[in-house]
């Protein structure tokens, strides 16, 4: 079993360094800063040699579960394989320009951005895209500001955004920071938005509905066209959260089923690595009437040369430095180009096939509260078990399987949200299914063992309450 390495602060020896770079030897007399502004060392800052640094971080890396070392069916996160060639491509030195380089010297980079925009337009049926948002939530915020600006241009920004009770927490938070109040609407017995229920909430205050499609239960919102029409009849907009786009990439264009604004997650559907929590990229696609409200910068084409617009009269302004997470875009474009028209629909087909295979094999063993058709993921409940979802999740760790998403969506008791993605082999799925059955048997026969799991991980179950109470957020030198 691995153990945590000592913190760098405890193995530090003053004066050590692992860097060697040639520096100009200019005399200190040149220093042009008032002495009282200078710093005299960084108290307690660590100092390690190169080899110690390498060992430290190599040992840390071994403590992580990752897509590269095992199955990771974390629902709504689309933990698909991140192709290695994309890392090589993102590392091409000639792409790593300074963001203020003159535009005539970075035509290749601008072309990459423009071509990815065009791919996304083609795949979604939206009119235009911005790639600047840094993550899904950043995209949501951007999208809601665009909607607000558009409605304002019509005379009234309105007050309320409707959000189904199955939505991800970023939806209400993003709408709130765009200046809206939130009204939650209940899902119906099928786990989707009920058209008649929705209509009850539609009044002149409603700016938009934020809908995740397929929703967080993995169910396609089959009334989306009628919902979109009802919204539009009311002067309201449909925002589609595309976090689950992996379910119908290359099969459905959101722009053709009534979405006015969508966001995509390049770090989910488009295979860029999650990096332990980021960087992501959350492009926003909009319909034609909203396109002039997109944030800057905008890339335009003039006689074969690409130009950049840093200011637009009507746009929401700038929401991020420079052009966004450019190297994430590079990886996403490389992924799409590798797929091509021959394979792009296979992403969703295999993802949905894998998820439905798992669903079928586990359906008799776990409670499935919503029985409608599911696409790329399936959500079971812990109802009727002698243990809780958390116990099953922790036990999975012992089998080198990362658990599903737990306790989300909130409308399911003890939710276990399983998303296998298309990049898993049948052997991996079969192994997962068999491990789940074993664990469920253990839950019947020896629930205590599960409640004390995991047993084979670098640390045993961690005390989150202790962490929140003690609030140790950094190393401090201990008083001797």
């Amino acid at each position: 079993m691995n153990k945590l390495p000592e913190l760098i602060f405890n193995i530090s020896r003053k004066g050590k360094t692992g860097v060697s770079v040639s520096l100009n030897q200019f005399p200190d007399e040149l220093i042009a800063i008032n002495k009282k502004k200078l710093r005299n060392g960084i108290e307690d800052f660590p100092s390690l040699s190169e080899v110690e640094t390498v060992r430290h971080f190599s040992n840390l890396a071994r403590l992580n579960h990752s897509v590269d070392n095992g199955f990771y069916p974390l629902g709504s996160c689309t933990m698909k394989y991140n192709p290695k060639v994309n890392e090589k491509i993102a590392g091409i030195d000639n792409l790593s320009a300074h963001p203020y380089s003159p535009v005539d010297l970075v035509q290749g980079n601008l072309r990459i951005i423009k071509e990815l925009e065009e791919w996304l337009i083609e795949l979604t049926g939206m009119d235009s895209f911005t790639l600047t948002p840094s993550a899904g939530a950043h995209g949501e915020f951007t999208g809601m500001m665009i909607i607000r600006k558009y409605l304002t241009s019509l005379g009234d920004p309105r007050k309320i955004v409707l959000i189904p009770d199955s939505a991800h927490g970023t939806n209400p938070a993003s709408a709130h920071f765009a200046g809206y109040d939130i009204r939650e609407i209940p899902s119906n017995d099928e786990g989707i938005i009920d058209l008649e229920e929705l209509k009850k909430h539609l009044d002149e205050d409603v700016a938009a509905l934020m809908m995740t499609n397929p929703n967080t239960l993995g169910i396609f919102e089959k009334n989306i066209v009628e919902i979109s029409k009802a919204l539009h009849d009311n002067g309201s907009m449909l925002y589609m959260d595309g976090a689950n786009m992996n379910a119908f990439l290359g099969i459905v264009r959101p722009g053709e089923i009534g979405a006015d604004v969508i966001h995509l997650n390049l770090h989910k559907t488009f295979s860029t690595p999650h990096g332990g929590g980021g960087p992501g990229s959350g492009p926003i696609g909009v319909s034609k009437e909203l396109s002039k409200f997109l944030p800057v910068p905008r890339i335009t084409s003039e006689g074969g040369k690409l130009k950049v617009k840093y200011f637009t009269e009507e746009g929401i302004g700038r929401i991020k430095n420079y052009y966004g997470n450019f190297l994430v875009m590079v990886r996403a474009l490389a992924y799409l180009m590798a797929l091509g028209k021959e394979n792009v629909s296979l992403v969703a087909e295999d993802a949905v096939l894998n998820a439905n295979y798992i669903r079928k094999e586990l359906e008799g063993h776990l409670d499935l509260p919503y029985k409608g058709k599911t696409l790329h993921e399936v959500v079971f409940s812990d109802s009727g078990l002698k243990v809780k979802t958390l116990d099953i999740a922790k036990r999975l760790l012992d089998y080198n399987i990362h658990p599903f998403t737990v306790y989300f969506p909130l409308i399911i008791h003890g939710a276990m949200m399983i998303e296998p993605t298309e990049t898993e082999s049948k052997e991996t799925l079969d192994n997962f299914i068999s491990v789940m059955k074993t664990i469920l048997k253990e839950a019947e026969e020896n629930p205590e063992y599960l409640k004390n799991s995991p047993h084979n991980t670098p640390v045993s179950r961690l005390d989150e309450v202790y962490a929140a109470r003690k609030l140790i957020l950094r190393w401090e030198k201990s008083e001797v």
Binding site: I89, G108, H138, F220, G276, R318, G324, G340, N354
Partner: protein, 449 residues
């Protein structure tokens, strides 16, 4: 295709288990005529070798790499040891999700805890979060934090902060009833005009955001700024766009700053055409419940052993939804991990030596220019690694073109952002500029007389 491990016979077998004949049956909830759109406009697949070739071509279409660049303005070219690149590219760092299952994420979590500690030490603050998107959005989050903490909706912003940061702040607050009032800068020193600041402070002001080194590269009188603001009850946020100034310049914390936000791209991230970069926020302990983004905390496992978890998530969107301190979910975790490796391998000595060298290179340039009378360094005191050069009577477009013809990208024309600086450029020097590079640059400017 290599990204799909299922074989056709397996697909058939799985369909049989599910009870369907055709994969399309799984998509039957989609309205009629809205699925399986034509893919004619999409290009054909590229094999791996073709893909690499394609992107090498984009790289060749770029020409920036043929030039010696002195561009800064919030994005800086620093040396990155190979060990940093190699360690950060490990699949076990690159391919996990947010560490929701801490028992199998101790690698990322401990590295993040070390990052939080080192950023706190560098800024001289109590705590740091585990990352924000970039410097500009971090500045906006800093403003929102001051509004929450002070419960006042009017914030002062120095007019010499990075202009893009100001744009981002303005975008973020546009629907939140928050008012930003600008504080002038002194045209002689390039620093915040303290008299103007004094005149604008008052009971209605929740906080002040300023930048040091500011956009012109000049260090502010931070201790005086914080004193003036604190005297009127305002919170003070300092923006740092060049994190490499932190080892050499007295820390924000030691000057009384309450919140430090900024950009830590300088700590191990390549220029990357502007992203992904690394936003950070560091602050006082008592602000912790209002801070945006993820925090890693130390805890114990059931055996009493040390371990790390994401903590204080009661501030965050997945618990608090619309009442959260921020909507941020995915952040720049891998960039922070990379900074953690970078800061560790440099250590105190590496950071100090390189930081000092950045300043000395800049000071050498300023000294070499001091003999010329056709150009002038605008703010000669208290710069760190950037300075403004006044081109006086030389037309800026001609200047840019002539230097470009000599293979030099001399800097950022300030007239992009400031009307009053018609003929000025912002020039940056790091340890990547050797003496010969600076001499060539100086000579090229000298020849324009």
């Amino acid at each position: 295709m290599r990204y799909f491990p299922l074989t056709d016979p397996e697909r058939e077998e799985m369909k049989k288990v599910i009870g369907i004949n055709d994969i399309k049956e799984l998509f039957s909830d989609i309205p009629k005529g809205k699925s399986y759109f034509p893919l004619d406009n999409i290009p054909s697949m590229l094999h791996e070798d073709e893909l690499i070739e394609k992107f090498m071509k984009y790289g060749e279409e770029n020409e920036f790499h043929k030039y010696k660049s002195f561009l800064g303005g919030g994005a800086y070219n620093h040396f990155i040891p190979e060990a940093v690149k190699s360690l950060s590219m490990k699949g076990d760092f690159l391919t996990p999700y947010t560490p929701y299952q801490p028992e199998v994420s101790q690698g990322s979590l401990q590295a993040m805890f070390e990052y939080q500690t080192m950023m706190s030490m560098l800024t001289g603050m109590d705590i740091s979060n585990s990352s924000l998107y970039d410097g500009g959005t971090a500045a906006a989050e800093g403003v929102l934090l001051m509004v929450r903490k002070s419960r006042k909706k009017k914030i002062l912003a120095a007019s010499n902060i990075h202009p893009e940061y100001l744009e981002i702040i303005n975008s973020y607050i546009q629907n939140l009833d928050i008012v930003i009032e600008l504080v002038d800068f002194d045209e002689t020193s390039g620093k915040v005009d303290l008299a103007d600041l004094r005149s604008k402070t008052g009971d209605d002001i929740g906080g002040l955001v300023f930048q040091s080194p500011n956009f012109f590269g000049v260090l502010e009188e931070t201790d005086q700024i914080t004193e003036i603001a604190h005297n009127s009850g305002s919170i003070v946020t300092q923006i740092v766009t060049e994190a490499f100034s932190l080892p050499f310049i007295s820390s924000p914390g030691s000057n009384g700053v309450d919140i430090v936000v900024g950009e830590a791209q300088s700590f191990g991230l390549p220029l990357s055409y502007g992203g992904p970069f690394l936003g950070f926020i560091s602050t006082r302990k008592e602000y912790v419940r209002q801070i945006p983004g993820r925090l890693v905390g130390e805890t114990i496992d059931t055996n009493g052993k040390r371990g790390y978890v994401l903590t204080l998530s009661t501030r965050e969107q997945h618990i608090k939804r619309e009442k959260a301190t921020s909507n941020i979910c995915s952040n720049q975790a891998w960039c922070a991990l990379r900074a953690s490796i970078y800061l560790t391998i440099l250590g105190e000595k590496g950071l100090n030596d390189i930081s000092r060298s950045n300043h000395l290179n800049t000071a050498y340039f300023v000294k070499q220019l001091s003999g010329m009378d056709h150009v002038e360094v605008k703010f000669k005191e208290d710069f760190f690694n950037e300075v403004v050069v006044d081109l006086k009577n030389i037309d800026i477009d001609q200047f840019m073109n002539k230097l470009k013809a000599k293979g030099i990208l001399p800097g950022i024309p300030l007239n992009w952002f400031f009307k009053e600086f018609k003929n000025h450029i912002l020039v940056n020097f790091t340890e990547m500029h050797k003496k010969a590079d600076i001499d060539n640059f100086v000579n090229a400017i000298g020849e324009l007389k």
